[in-house]
Every structure is written in structure tokens, then in C-alpha cells.
């Protein structure tokens, strides 16, 4: 509440405004949010709590659940890291260099946002399965991607690909050429210029993209299950465990795994955001 208007004494929590419709618009959004998102999520927590501490602990510490959580979170972090590296590189190439078809490729980066995950899933399976387009080439070399944790990683890299590109791109585009020129004129090597002029503003933006890619990847289901092979303790992701519990009508078990996933991912996202905030302050960009 930055601007306190003189007519502000009417209501304590809202500034009076000549623009009407606050009541109805606020009512619609809060009602819809409650009915569609908040109450259902509350039911999830309620159901998980109904399992009782002993059952929750038994489930949370069972090797199969731990294995699935480790895979989902580990692969999501690794995929987000791969996307961090290649996303910065692709953003750089798209902003700084000219080459034929650049605009087309720029638009194509968003494909994972638009392509339904099940379509991506079966396509990746057709590529990386042992008898697939690339899988069959790798099989004689003893390399297996499809139906292994590596397959999970490939799917998660695919769906997280646009995030870092799209957060870094505007930062690179708005960067002032003068700073780099000044650094170069003052005798800095190109590496030094990149390191002390370009990296500081790019890194926090890349971290934002990293967090978004991670958040998306950790709960991903559709693109993963076709290529993962879904072997318990090896290539079974946490969302699939929820589906399996539901198919067994174990609602409480499914809810417990769901809450575990949400709590873990919120803790990790919070930690990453705190780290990013620290990074931003340290690098002097607010």
C-alpha cells in the first residue's frame, strides 16, 4: 500500500478507488480460488493427516517411497541444472548472434509448453527405447536410456527447456553495450568482461529459470511414465506412486505421498529462492 489517499479512512484493508467492481471481482477470484484450488488442497492435507503418525512414518520411510522421491527430486534438480547451462547458452546465442532461421528457432523454444506431455512421452519413448530411433544405435554400445533413470532425466530436460532461456533472454537483451565496451577499453580480457559484466545480472535470472524448471519437473508425470519403465526403486517417480495408491483405493496413502511431495518441493523452492536472493544482493542487482 504505497499511496495512502485521503479517502482511505473508509476501509482499513483497501484503498478507496474511483474504479468500481472491486467487490464483485474480488468475490469471483476468491470464490473460484477457494473452490478449485484451496479447499481441494485442504482436503489433501486433511486426508493425509487422517492416516495417523505411525502410518505416515511407515509410508514416508518405506524404501519404495524414498526411492521414488529421491528419483523425482534428484532427476528434477539434475534436469534443471542441464537446462540452466544450455538455457543460458541458447539465450546467449539467440540474443547475441545472427544466423539463418533465428526467429523460427526462438519461437520453437516454447514447444515444451505447447506440446501435450503424453505426446512428448511417447515420442521420447520411440526415440530412446532399446529398439527406438536412437536407443537402437546406443544399445550395441551398452548404453541404455529408455526404461532407466536416464530416460526420466531426458523427459525432464525436455519439459524444463524453455524456462531458463525465457528468463535470461530479456536480461541479455537489455544489457547495456557500453558496460562491456568500457570493460574492454579498460583492458579487460573477454573472459574477464564476461565474468564481471555479464554474469552478475544473468546469474539471478538464470536461477529464477532454474527454480521454475525444477518446480515443473518435480511433479511431471505425462512425459516421464512412457520412457521411465517404472521399475520400483529404480525408475519409478513419486507421482506414479500416487497413481498406483489410488488404483488400490488407498486414498490416505496417496494423500500422504502427495503432501510429502508438496512439502519437500516447497522447502527446496524456498531454499533456492533464498539462495537466489542472497546471490542478487551479493552481485549488487536488486
Amino acid at each position: 500500500m504505497s499511496i495512502a489517499s485521503p479517502a482511505n479512512h473508509g476501509s482499513a484493508w483497501r484503498e478507496r478507488s474511483i474504479v468500481p467492481g472491486f467487490g464483485i471481482s474480488f468475490g469471483i477470484i476468491v470464490t473460484a480460488l477457494s473452490l478449485i484450488v484451496l479447499i481441494p488442497l485442504a482436503a489433501l492435507v486433511l486426508k493425509a493427516a487422517s492416516a495417523g503418525p505411525a502410518d505416515i512414518w511407515a509410508l514416508a520411510s518405506s524404501p519404495r517411497v524414498l526411492g521414488a522421491l529421491r528419483l523425482s527430486f534428484g532427476a528434477a534438480l539434475l534436469a534443471a541444472f542441464v537446462n540452466l547451462v544450455f538455457g543460458v547458452l541458447i539465450a546467449w546465442v539467440l540474443v547475441r548472434y545472427e544466423f539463418p532461421g533465428k526467429r523460427f528457432i526462438d519461437a520453437a523454444v516454447d514447444l515444451p509448453f505447447a506440446l501435450p506431455t503424453a505426446v512428448a512421452g511417447i515420442a521420447l519413448a520411440a526415440i530412446y527405447a532399446p529398439n527406438g530411433w536412437i536407443g537402437s544405435l546406443l544399445a550395441p554400445l551398452g548404453i541404455k536410456i529408455g526404461y532407466t533413470p536416464a530416460g526420466v532425466l531426458m523427459a525432464l530436460i525436455f519439459i524444463g527447456l524453455p524456462f531458463v532461456v525465457r528468463t535470461v533472454q530479456p536480461v541479455l537483451a537489455e544489457m547495456e553495450a557500453e558496460l562491456e565496451e568500457a570493460a574492454a577499453l579498460l583492458g579487460a580480457s573477454r573472459w574477464r568482461t564476461v565474468w564481471s559484466v555479464i554474469v552478475p545480472p544473468v546469474l539471478p535470472a538464470a536461477m529464477t529459470g532454474f527454480v521454475l524448471a525444477f518446480a515443473r519437473a518435480v511433479g511431471e508425470y505425462g512425459s516421464v511414465i512412457f520412457i521411465a519403465g517404472n521399475v520400483p526403486m529404480v525408475s519409478e517417480i513419486a507421482p506414479l506412486l500416487i497413481v498406483i495408491r489410488l488404483e488400490q483405493f488407498d486414498y490416505a496413502g496417496a494423500a500422504v505421498i502427495g503432501v510429502l511431495m508438496l512439502v519437500l518441493s516447497f522447502i527446496i523452492i524456498l531454499a533456492l529462492n533464498l539462495f537466489q536472493g542472497a546471490l542478487r544482493r551479493r552481485l549488487g542487482h536488486v
Binding site: 500500500m1 484503498e15 477470484i29 480460488l33 528457432i105 523454444v109 506414479l240 500416487i242 486414498y251 511431495m261
Partner: protein, 298 residues
């Protein structure tokens, strides 16, 4: 970068033209390598999967492709997908505009909390988005017995599919509109209201024309997600062939039955939808760049 190329970079400092590329640039070798690595990565992760969808769909010719799509179960899956989108998008438009109106046009305490809550579905697994409705409305859910006594079915039926789709698409339109409406400010509306226009007329004649492109942009993204959603819908649909299978679910069923051509044929329709979405989105970004303020991070 070698010392030699650095020296070459530093040379034409005094020259007035072209100094920008010299001071900022990498050597040609570095450029080519970076472009090559970037495009190689995109070819492997984007172009290849997309190409494979169409290659597999047409693996046994046009006839087999057509047969896969003309199958009655495929056709009913297409119908259901269109129906779900036709229900969820108008709801999302109304809710999205309302949310953006409340957030962008007014100042109130707790606004940032509201914005975070609107974005919340982005960080919830689609499977959990389906799960929550099973817990509420499923046979053994909190409201299951009541619904049964009333003869209502939500889970394993259309309402459940619509609810799960609404959950995952909830933020799309509001988050496109909020930054745009904030950037526009209230001046236009205040002028219209001061001149005596009714609130409703102000919205229709002033606000709506102002935000129409970012609204369309949001609808586009929302539609792509609504038609393509898999995880959330898979949990609530029950996958009753020809009845509760949307196109993505039908793709899964066909694929698991080793009907590869039919699976990829239906998948190719969804891939076409994705391509059309991308093309329209790119056109909007190019033509109306100033009116689409939101970050592209869906």
C-alpha cells in the same frame, strides 16, 4: 579465447564505426561452436521428438493414419477434448479477468498473497491436482456418499475432468492480464467513469479493448494446456474408452495396446495443435509486443 584474438579485438578501438561488435564480440570460432552446441541441443530435444511423432504416425501410410483417427473411440476422444476446452476456457476467462481486475485496478492488503495463491497450481504436480478431487468426490472421498445418494457422479465423469483441467489451467489468464493491466493503469477507466459511463460500459468499451490481445494470448496458452493435460485428467477420468478418455488419455491407451500408428496419429493432432498455438503466440508477440507484458514462463 586466445591472446592473439584479444589483441585483434582491441585493435580498432579508435574507429568510430563497428566498434560495438569488436568490443562485445567473440571470435568466429567461438561463435560457431556456441551456435552449433545450442542448435544441436535444440535439435535433439525439440526437433527430433516432434519429427518422430509425424514419422511414426505415417509409418504405415496415409490409410493407416486415417484409420487411427477415424476410429469411433478416437473421434469421441476428440469430441470430449473439445468439450472440456469449451467449458473450462470461458470459466477461466471470467475468473482470470476478475482476478486481474481485483489485483491490477485496486490496492488492498494481502494482494501479494492472492497473487501467489493464483500461481499456486503451477507448482503442484498435475497428479496431485487430480488426486485432490478424488479425495473430495471419489467413491470413498469426503463427499462421495452424499454424491452417491444424490445420484451425482463427478469422478470418472465429465465434471471431474473439467475440475482437474480448471485446477491446472487456473493461473494462465490472470497472470497474462495482471502485468498488462498494471502497466496500463487506471487513467482510461477513470476518464470514462468521470464522463458518466456506467461501470459495465466502461469495462466493455474501455478495458476490454485495451486488454484484448493479452487476453487472447492467455486464452491461447490456457487452451493448449486444457486440451493437452494428461496427469491431472488421467487420475480423475477412470479412462472409460469412448466415454471419459480425452485425446491425451486415448493416446496412452492406444500406445499401451501397442497400436503405435493409431497412438501417434492421435498424438500428431495434438502436435499440430501445439504448432498452431506456437505460431499464433509468436504472431501475437511480434504484432502486439507492447500489449503482452507478461513473462513467458508457462
Amino acid at each position: 579465447m586466445s591472446d592473439a584474438s584479444l589483441a585483434a579485438d582491441a585493435l580498432p578501438v579508435g574507429r568510430p564505426t563497428g566498434h560495438r561488435t569488436v568490443a562485445r564480440g567473440e571470435s568466429a570460432v567461438v561463435r560457431v561452436v556456441l551456435i552449433g552446441v545450442g542448435l544441436g541441443f535444440l535439435a535433439l530435444f525439440l526437433a527430433l521428438p516432434l519429427a518422430i511423432v509425424f514419422l511414426e504416425a505415417f509409418a504405415r501410410g496415409w490409410g493407416a493414419y486415417r484409420a487411427g483417427i477415424a476410429d469411433p473411440d478416437s473421434l469421441s476422444a476428440i469430441q470430449l477434448t473439445l468439450l472440456v476446452a469449451a467449458i473450462t476456457i470461458p470459466i477461466n476467462v471470467v475468473v482470470g479477468i476478475a482476478g486481474a481486475w481485483a489485483v491490477a485496478k485496486h490496492e488492498f492488503r494481502g494482494k501479494s498473497v492472492l497473487v501467489s495463491l493464483i500461481d499456486l497450481p503451477f507448482s503442484v504436480s498435475p497428479v496431485i491436482a487430480g488426486l485432490v478431487y478424488v479425495l473430495l468426490f471419489g467413491a470413498q472421498g469426503y463427499l462421495g456418499p452424499f454424491l452417491k445418494s444424490q445420484g451425482l457422479q463427478i469422478i470418472f465423469a465429465l465434471p471431474g475432468i473439467v475440475l482437474a483441467t480448471l485446477f491446472v489451467t487456473f493461473p494462465f489468464i490472470a497472470r497474462e492480464l495482471i502485468p498488462h493491466m498494471q502497466a496500463l493503469g487506471n487513467a482510461d477507466e477513470e476518464a470514462a467513469l468521470t464522463l458518466g459511463a456506467s461501470p459495465w460500459r466502461t469495462f466493455l468499451m474501455v478495458t476490454l479493448p485495451n486488454i484484448k490481445w493479452s487476453l487472447l494470448y492467455g486464452v491461447l496458452l490456457c487452451n493448449a494446456r486444457a486440451m493437452g493435460e494428461f496427469g491431472a485428467v488421467a487420475v480423475v477420468s477412470g479412462k472409460i474408452r469412448g466415454l471419459t478418455t480425452t485425446m491425451p488419455l486415448h493416446v496412452e491407451i492406444l500406445y499401451n495396446e501397442y497400436m503405435s500408428v493409431a497412438a501417434f496419429a492421435v498424438a500428431s493432432l495434438l502436435a499440430l495443435l501445439a504448432l498452431v498455438t506456437l505460431a499464433a503466440k509468436t504472431f501475437l508477440e511480434w504484432r502486439y509486443a507492447d500489449e503482452i507484458v507478461a513473462t513467458r514462463r508457462h
